[in-house]
Symmetry: C2
Subunit: 408 residues, 2 copies
């Protein structure tokens, strides 16, 4: 399968990811030895290709339930495909390797919309997810076979299509003598629970609520678009939290839902922020950022205490994602969860910032091996399934010359 | 490749197609012997699963450049996926075969938008195409591996993503002693030119303009939605053509463009019809349908004379698609092109109504064999490419036991 040399001991893959915050494309070059839960995963190179503000604007205009039109979406799908292909080729150049030596690309694409809730239609009830970044363009421009659209198959078997990180968390961080939590703070924050005694079927995970999405949105508004995030938590730490607003924020219904659950960034978006800020006397910029940052911290801490620690005694949280670099969040979590040791993912084999891109490479590798990549106890799926669709590159149909030699 | 038994002599495939007119899903069960241009293709079973009027409405609301929203599109993508899966399973039942014996499904999906024109974006110029009918759902519900999204890869190498029918036209109708034209009258009409002396690289094709789309639209308006097409051309034949309106219709700029060219149904849609009818005194229903039918006939005839017969002396037109069953169109074409013999496709091995669904099975088969399915001289692509993305079914990763036995 997957053409020449797939059966070799070690494969080279590229993972491509663009998060809901639309910062840019993360590209990771990964070497994988073996398959399944016992894979050895080595990050060879990593690069972030930042989106220009005009590209960010293009994408943000197309996010959310009512955004988009066929024309915008169709062209954006192709355009993001070209950018993803460019990111893969730029990574090869940086790493000094020929694209032809790469076995496979795993591409998440750019999420425009995620709708895990089931809706009734005539004869069938459906949900769905929408990522752009046309794989035909990535495969054609790079010559490399692409696996993409990882979330749909999980949703086809009753899953929420998220979180997908649970699989990589298990492979990287499972420890037989110590139960761990893995916390990723991207646009949305999610937690993976890794019980020491469990194999992968015992892993579970859920979104806790907002990661950086609300803070990023407010920073962008306050700065008139000049800043996109609260660098080093400076604004948060210079302001004062409004307990009244925090209480109102904590009443968001998502927080009370029991896992498994996944959150679209949209439910913690502009409409929600408007509703809250308009219901209360205005805060100055720093106080608003401080309050929203505290909301992120508190919603994570409460979810961990109520949903994770009640079921599994853990001693350590491994923390990754953009929020792991925000001292206001990290210190807030230390205060809120004093009995847990907080370890940055950077202390482990894969730096936090590269994790999501590495995940895409690892999921593509699972699919190419015919192995499931979703963790049913995390997504709520009825079963493990081989994720994604495969778009052939030059190497996909190449003759398996090694095999021929061996049999002749 | 494609799991167990792909290397057997004969494979069973299902082709699934839903045209721009949104009538329903055509499903064809096909047996293919050999590969490439010398394939023997046998239609084993065919079934049309008509869309209910509520489903038609759902789809039509999402067609065209400005239609759609992320929410509508995402859910429709999944819903059409479920309907396509249902159509495949219903076909298996009708044919009395187990889905597990089907090697592959080729699924076109439902086109919502097709944008072959190149648009400038920062750093890259792109075009694109949008079909819904999520393949993850089709593969999961049927257990059969699916090839889908056939148009994107052709567009990635400079093609218009259409017409795709040229490949099947060559396989079915190429004749070494007689040059032929193949005319398909669906929503849009297209012509494939099959020179007797040429191999597949000498085949060319192009859209001529409206097929049934304008007539269907006008019939639906006149009947207040009660009728969707002019059955047997009755309305057209009871009316009188307005030469003034016909002259204005024939001035549509698409008609003057030289091939290769492909038309989105949208350019012969409501906006165009409104513009024409509002510029002239109103016609009664029958006269309007007569005039629009004559426009279809004349635009096809002129395109054949100007673009096809100028380059290749042909004696026969093989005619297929819904329009082939409209006597007003067929008789009109006989009058307009008196020197050509008109043969219904039904007289050949594949009935006209099954042709597009069979095409999807044949293109999927080409892709599974690692062979190109686009005809560059028809689509304008720079080269032939393996079309589509592959979504694994149960059979995709099955052990190739035959191979193991052979080598042991």
């Amino acid at each position: 399968m997957f053409g020449r040399n797939w059966d070799k001991k070690e494969r080279i893959l590229i993972g491509l990811m663009s998060g809901t915050s639309c910062d840019g494309i993360d590209a990771a070059l990964v070497r994988i030895n073996g398959s399944g839960a016992d894979s050895a995963i080595k990050l060879e190179a990593f690069q972030e290709l930042n989106f220009s503000s005009s590209v960010q604007k293009l994408i943000k205009e197309c996010q959310g339930p009512e955004a988009g039109s066929n024309r915008k979406l169709t062209l954006l799908d192709s355009y993001i495909g070209e950018l993803f292909a460019h990111a893969a080729l730029a990574l090869c150049k940086k790493a000094g390797i020929e694209p032809a030596t790469v076995d496979l690309i795993g591409s998440h694409g750019q999420t425009l919309y995620h709708h895990p809730r089931i809706e009734k239609f005539p004869g069938f009830s459906v949900n769905g997810t929408l990522q752009v970044g046309n794989p035909a363009l990535i495969a054609e421009r790079t010559g490399i076979t692409v696996v993409s659209d990882f979330r749909s198959r999980d949703m086809a078997v009753g899953g929420q299509g998220a979180p997908l990180a649970a699989y990589l968390d298990y492979v990287l961080y499972h420890n037989v003598s110590r139960s761990r939590l893995v916390l990723n703070i991207g646009g949305i924050a999610n937690v993976t629970v890794l019980p020491s005694k469990a194999d992968i079927s015992g892993v579970w995970a859920f979104d806790t609520g907002p990661g950086n999405c609300l803070v990023d949105l407010a920073v962008s508004r306050i700065s008139g678009g000049k800043k996109t995030y609260d660098r080093d938590g400076v604004m948060a730490m210079s302001g004062k939290t409004s307990q009244v607003m925090l209480k109102m924020l904590m009443e968001h219904p998502f927080l009370a839902v029991k896992p498994p659950k996944s959150a679209d960034k949209d439910i913690f978006g502009a409409a929600f922020l408007d509703k809250i800020t308009q219901a209360l006397p205005p805060l100055n910029g720093a106080d608003l950022i401080s309050t929203l940052t505290e909301f992120t911290v508190k919603s994570i801490a409460v979810a961990i205490m109520e949903f994770a620690l009640q079921r599994e005694r853990c001693e350590e949280i491994i923390i990754s994602g953009g929020g792991a670099h925000n001292p206001a969040i990290v210190e807030g979590l230390k205060t809120a969860l004093p009995k847990l040791m907080l370890s940055p993912a950077d202390a482990y084999s894969i730096p936090a910032k590269a994790k999501e891109a590495v995940l895409m490479a690892v999921l593509a590798h699972q699919s190419a091996c015919g192995l499931s990549g979703n963790v049913p106890s995390a997504t709520g799926a009825r079963k493990g399934v081989v994720l994604g669709s495969i778009t052939p590159g030059i190497n996909f149909f190449a003759d398996e010359e090694g095999d021929k030699d061996a049999s002749s």
